[in-house]
Structure formats: C-alpha cells, structure tokens
C-alpha cells in the first residue's frame, strides 16, 4: 500500500491552491462562504464559472477534445479537494455535470456543436426538468405529456423542483410520449433551447430557508421543436439512466466541505459558553457528538480516497448509492450541529444579510448567519437525486454473498 500522491501531484496541488488564492474576486469568495446549499448564489457562481473557463479548468471531468483538462483521476481529486478547502462556490451541476457529459456521450453532432460551447463558457445555464408533482423519486410515473405534431412536440403538464429555472435560459426535461406498455418505455428526453416558449411559465418556489431556489414550470399547449430530442422517441428512460451515472457518480470529494463545516463548528464551540462551565468545546457531550461526526466524515474521506485510487470498493454496484447516502446524511448531521451551536443566534431570519454584497450587518457572527439556512436547506439532500429510501432499496439489492 502507498498513501502518498506522487511528488509531481503535490506540485500540481500547489499550482491549484495558488490559483484559488488569487483568482476569485471578493464577491466570489463571499458567495463561497455564504453558500448554504448545493447551489451557490447564481450571479457570483457564473462569474467564477467564466474565470475557470478562461483558465481552461472549468470542466476537468470532460474529455480533452471537448474542453476538458486531460487530468488524471488523482489530479481531478486534488483539484476538487483544494476547491472545497478554499471555500469557493461550487459550480452549478446541471450544465457541466449533467447535460454536457450526456451530450458528449450520446448527443448528435449537431447537438454537440450547438450546445457544448455555451455550457463550457457559461453563457448558457440549463435547468433540469425531471420531477413532477406526485412523481418524486419514482420518475417512471411522470406524466407531463408531449404529442408529436409535424416537426414539433406539443407539451402539456408541469415540472417541479426545477432548481434555478428562474435563472435558466435552457432546459432539459423528460416528457411522456406514450402510455402504452411499461411506464418506463413511454418517456422521451428533450432539450429546450429557450425557456420562454409561448405556453411555458416558470414560477419560483420559496424554500424553507426563505430563498427562491426551486421552481415550478408549467406547459400549456407549448410547441417545441423535435430536433431537441436526445436518443429515440420513447427511449428517454435509458437516456435518463445514463445521465444518472453522472449525477450520482463519485469522485467529487464531498468530505473537504464537511471538514470545513466541522472546523467552523469547532471554532463556534470554542467561543460559546457552556451552561455547565467552561466553553462548549470542553463539554463532554459536545466532544462525543463532534467525535462521532468527524469520525464518520473521516470514513467518507477514506472511502473517497480508496475509490479514486482504483480500490475494489469503487467497483461495488452500490458505490454511487452508498456515496450519495453517506454524503447527504453527513451534510444534514453537520448542519444540524451548526444550527444547534448557534442556538438563539440562529433564530433571526436574515435574508438580506445573507445576500452577497449586502450592506446589512448580520445580527450575530457569520457562522450564525449561515447555520440555520444551511440546516434548513440541507433537509433536501436526502430527498433529491433519488431519495435516500430509494438509494437504500438499491443498496439492499446488492447485499449478500
């Protein structure tokens, strides 16, 4: 066994860290610190996207011929680690992480030429139209209908939990094109090259944290071109399954972010008086809770490191589901600890102070400002991308000798 990265990789790490220390603007840094969701503040996130694009580092996981970096798995992991350590806003996953890789894998030549450049340089932002009211993690039950008409489809129905659709200029979605046979077999995958088609309406939903992150999208006799179809008509299920590999796959180093949360929590505990004397950091119950959390995060980090090194653990068919389950539940546990540490100071609703560039002073510390929105927003982590109940069903099928 060998625990160390090769020396040239450590040089690469230094190069990445140097860039992250110098390239982001103050607003981008502030957005990173104030990210209380998987989805960073939109405007600063897109600015950062552009900077990374210009550096050539925006899509490390893409093949080099399409604008990827040509980095090894280890380099990508180091990049992700340094990125998280620097507290920078994560790029939004729908464009670079989902629709981009899908088009690279199975889009037509025309689709690639039309869409990939805008995805890469950040001109376009894609919303993901999968979920529907009453559909949830059972995607096969979706019912938003698309009927062929000449060169077009006419869409009727609605989508929900469409993250940042109010910022999007493009959208990919799953629609029902047939009700014959198995539910999975009547679904089609569509790309919409605009979101302002007549008969299409986007309405933001205010979340628990008070922020508009999710949207509802309504289609009423909305006519869109059939040329946006990926794969064959009624074969959208296999297209979606293909995309899911990108959505749930590992290699994006969640543990450094979780460790940053723990550092912040430790610092807050050291500054908070315990009702039993001393500070909370000296309190045995806090120490035990913190130890359990940090040890579990360490195990996730070990799991991630084994996976990128090519250990057999990554070949387990349950790997993506285990990764998603561990990661999402740890985000919840870490944010729960943060909100509990803030206590009454986390109770103020401070949406204005939370905004990047705000002149409004937060009532407590920056820790107190973000802990409650993070806690509230992270209730979603075990719901989205296939609820953890669905993940556990998938994992359970792989258990046994």
């Amino acid at each position: 066994m060998n625990i160390d990265f090769a020396p040239e990789l450590e040089a690469f790490r230094a190069e990445v860290a140097e860039f992250f220390a110098t390239a982001p603007t103050p607003a981008i840094r502030e957005a990173g610190r104030k990210t209380t969701s998987v989805f960073a503040p939109f405007k600063e996130c897109q600015e950062w996207h552009r900077i990374l694009f210009e550096k050539g580092w925006v899509a490390p996981h893409w093949p080099e011929e399409y604008g990827g970096t040509g980095w090894s798995v280890e380099q990508r992991f180091i990049f992700a680690e340094e990125y998280r350590k620097a507290d920078l806003p994560p790029l939004l996953p729908q464009s670079l992480g989902m629709v981009g890789p899908l088009l690279i894998d199975i889009g037509t030549q025309e689709q690639k030429e039309r869409y990939l450049p805008g995805i890469l340089n950040g001109d376009d932002f894609w919303a993901q139209g999968y979920s529907e009211p009453n559909s949830g993690s059972d995607l096969a039950s979706l019912s938003c209908r698309a009927v062929p008409d000449g060169d077009d489809y006419i869409i009727n129905g609605s989508k929900i939990w469409t993250t940042y659709a109010h910022h999007a200029n493009r959208m990919f979605l799953l629609v029902r094109t047939s009700t014959e046979g198995k539910k999975q077999q009547g679904i089609t995958f569509l790309l919409l090259d605009r979101v302002d088609y007549p008969g299409m309406e986007i309405r933001p939903i205010i979340g628990l944290d008070g922020c508009p992150e999710q949207c509802e999208v309504f289609f009423e006799d909305c006519r869109v071109p059939q040329s946006g179809r990926v794969g064959a008509e009624n074969d959208g299920w296999s297209v979606a399954k293909h995309l899911l590999k990108h959505e749930r796959g590992g290699g994006n180093a969640a543990s450094p972010t979780l460790m940053r949360y723990c550092e912040r929590a430790r610092q807050a505990a050291a500054e908070t008086l315990s009702p039993f004397g001393g500070t909370l950091a000296d309190d045995p119950v806090f120490q035990r809770d913190m130890g359990e959390l940090e040890a579990d995060i360490a195990s996730l980090a070990h799991f991630e490191k084994l996976a990128i090194s090519g250990h057999e653990i990554a070949n387990d068919p349950a790997f993506p589901s285990m990764n998603k389950t561990m990661n999402s539940e740890l985000v919840q546990r870490a944010s729960t600890m943060m909100a509990e540490l803030s206590g009454v100071d986390g109770m103020a609703r401070q949406l204005e102070a939370l905004r990047v560039g705000s002149n409004v002073e937060p009532l407590g510390s920056e820790f107190d400002l973000i802990s409650m929105p993070l806690y509230l927003n992270s209730r979603a982590t075990t719901i989205y991308a296939g609820s953890n109940e669905v993940q556990r069903d998938l994992i359970a099928r792989t258990v046994g000798s």
Binding site: M1, F5, G291, A295, A298, D316, R397, G400
Partner: protein, 363 residues
C-alpha cells in the same frame, strides 16, 4: 496512492482463507469452543507453518519482516472465522514486546513464541479498564536484581495456558510504564481462568509480590506495539462485520413471512443497506489507516477514529443482524450471536468506541 494488497499479501490471504474454509468452519469452531481445549493446537501449528507466528518480527530477530498490512490481510479472515487462537496477545503484543527488548531471555522466549513451541500471554487491562493508559495502576517494585509485581490484571487471553506472561506495569509508584516478564509457575500468581463471551480462553491474574524481570528497552516501543495490535484487532472486527452482512442478507432473501422473503419488506431491506454502509465505512477506514500506519503516518487521532468507528459500527451491525434473524438470532446455535460477541469483545479492549470517539471530538 495505492490501497490494494500486494500479490504476496493476496497469496497469503488465499492460503489462510482456504485453510480456514476447510478446517475452521463454524461447526468445527463450535466443537472446539465447547471442548476442554482452549484453542486448536493443530490450527496453531498450521499458523506457524504459514509463517504467521514469525511474520511481524524483523529478520534480525528471526522473523519474516512482515508489515502491519501483511497482518491486516489475514486478520480479516480470522474475524470471518471467529478464530479463538491467541494470535494478537501472543504474537502482536507479548511477542512484539519481547522482540523490542534487550537480553537473552527475551530472545529465547521470542524464538519459542515464533516457532509455536510456547505461548506468551499479554497482561494489560485492569479493573477500571485501560482506555486511558494513565489508569494503569499496577506497580513493579524494584527488588534485588529484578522487580516484584502486585495488583490484578483482567482479561489476559491465554493467561492460564501461557508459559510466560508479559505484564504492563509502572516502574515504581507513579513511574513510567514498562513491560515485565513473569514465567508460568512463579510464586505469587493467583490465576482464575474463564471462557470469554466470544469463546476465547482468558484469565484474571492476581499478582502478589510476584518476581518479574523487566523487558529492558521495550517500553519505548509501547505506542507502536499497541497501535499495530489495535489495527489488526480492528481488521478482525471488520472481517466479522463482513460475514454478518452476507449471512444476514442470505437469510433475509430466503426466510419467508406473510408469503414473501422478508428482504422484500422495506424496513428489512433498509436495515440491510445500513449494515452494508456501516461495513463499507469501517472497511474503508481500516484500509486507509493501515496504509497510513505502513508509511509511519498514523497518529493517535487516526487510530482513535479507526477504533471508535469499528467499535460503534460493529456493534450496530451485530445488533441489526440479530434483529433481522428474529428469534433464531437469539440462539447460541447460530453463528450470528457469536459474531456479535466477537465484535463486542473487540470494542471493549483498549478503550471502547465512546472513549475513542470522544478523543476524536477533543480535537
């Protein structure tokens, strides 16, 4: 980075695994545990033939120069087969202390331990538990050329059968910890033998002015010796967890209730998923910490994480396995309860998960 076992380690695993599959199936193991023998002399001989007894020691000491990873490679299989032979205490703990000590006596005992000719026990735990080493209170009082020991040691594996015992005690009242050697039959030893809940032979030993010889030079290596033994003990626990996960899944797929396999009930399926997640986490941490230790980078916090996670997750997996099996999981007949008890035993020694996880939280 590379966290795989080497080809040699895979060969060793393969050889030990085949032997245990053939000669150490659960029924054979249960016959052994219920017999008057404390462990299987023939299995011990076989371990000697595989080179396991000499593996961790340097070539200058007559050993094979094996690494901690070598030991982890086969220790997972020891856990899978619930091996009752006193490998950790006789080889990794007592043997390692002898290997670090100066003098002919230590060398002679080490040679006997490596060949399998004698078993040397390791006396460490005390009544209040020894999670924090500061709690060790036994004192070795200087007397003539040597020392005399007074006090009681608990859970000394192979304590009644051993030809000699390595005892951890303070060198003088309030003094530093050291290793002391007591030969079997020395006066002033009151040994009370018992079988542990996980089927191993152990003893509580009361020393009352018992003459002992200091293992000079060994104390400096105490941290390293204990660290290695803890890692290997965690490997055993992880092996036991893996066995429990697959046994329980197989049972849930075949056991029917209300006309269908119980694995089809979501409550049961999700428990199986959680067991697999727990096992995977513990194994990832075991492998990673082993690699850290091999490169000399494993610190006290890394070891506390490993010991804490393995203890906590192991206990959870054992309890989930019993619940999934229902009534039969409560019986002595089924292997499930025995795996659980081995996991409890691994957790209890050298500080349980509560202790270690709080240490992690102290930062």
């Amino acid at each position: 980075m590379d966290f795989r076992f080497t080809d040699e380690q895979e060969m060793l695993r393969d050889g030990v695994g085949k032997f245990l599959e053939k000669s150490y199936d659960f029924d054979t193991r249960q016959k052994l545990v219920r017999s008057d023998d404390p462990w299987s002399a023939s299995a011990w001989e076989q371990f000697a033939e595989f080179g396991l007894l000499a593996l961790p020691f340097s070539e200058e000491r007559g050993g094979l120069g094996g690494s901690v990873t070598d030991c982890v490679a086969f220790a997972e299989l020891f856990g899978k087969h619930l091996v009752v032979e006193p490998y950790a205490s006789a080889i990794l703990l007592a043997g390692a202390a002898l290997a670090e000590a100066d003098g002919d006596a230590a060398a002679a005992w080490l040679e006997k331990a490596m060949s399998g000719e004698a078993v040397v026990a390791f006396a460490y735990e005390e009544g209040r538990g020894t999670a924090a080493r500061d709690l060790i209170s036994m004192v070795a009082t200087p007397s003539g050329d040597g020392f005399t020991l007074s006090g009681e040691k608990r859970l000394v594996h192979a304590g009644a059968e051993a030809a000699a015992i390595v005892v951890v005690a303070r060198k003088g009242e309030g003094g530093p910890l050291g290793f002391f050697l007591v030969e079997a039959g020395t006066k002033g030893c009151d040994t009370r033998q018992y079988t542990t809940v996980d089927g191993r032979s152990a003893a509580n030993i009361r020393f009352d002015g018992t003459p002992a010889e200091e293992l000079v030079g060994a104390a400096d290596a105490m941290d390293a010796i204990l660290a290695k033994a803890v890692i290997v003990q965690c490997a055993e626990a992880v092996g036991a967890m893996g066995a429990l996960v697959s046994i329980t899944a197989d049972y849930a797929m075949t056991r029917k209730q209300f006309g269908v396999p119980i694995a089809t009930f979501q409550a049961v399926a999700h428990r199986l998923a959680d067991m697999k997640i727990a096992y995977t986490k513990a194994r990832a941490t075991l492998i990673y910490t082993t690699a850290l230790a091999e490169s000399g980078q494993a610190g006290p916090r890394d070891l506390a994480i490993l010991k804490g996670q393995t203890g906590k997750l192991g206990k959870a997996v054992g309890e989930a396995a019993i619940q999934t099996h229902g009534g039969v999981g409560m019986t002595d007949e089924l292997s499930v309860s025995h795996y659980h008890k081995r996991l409890l035993a691994c957790d209890a020694q050298f500080g349980d998960h509560s202790y270690h996880l709080r240490r992690v939280g102290q930062g």
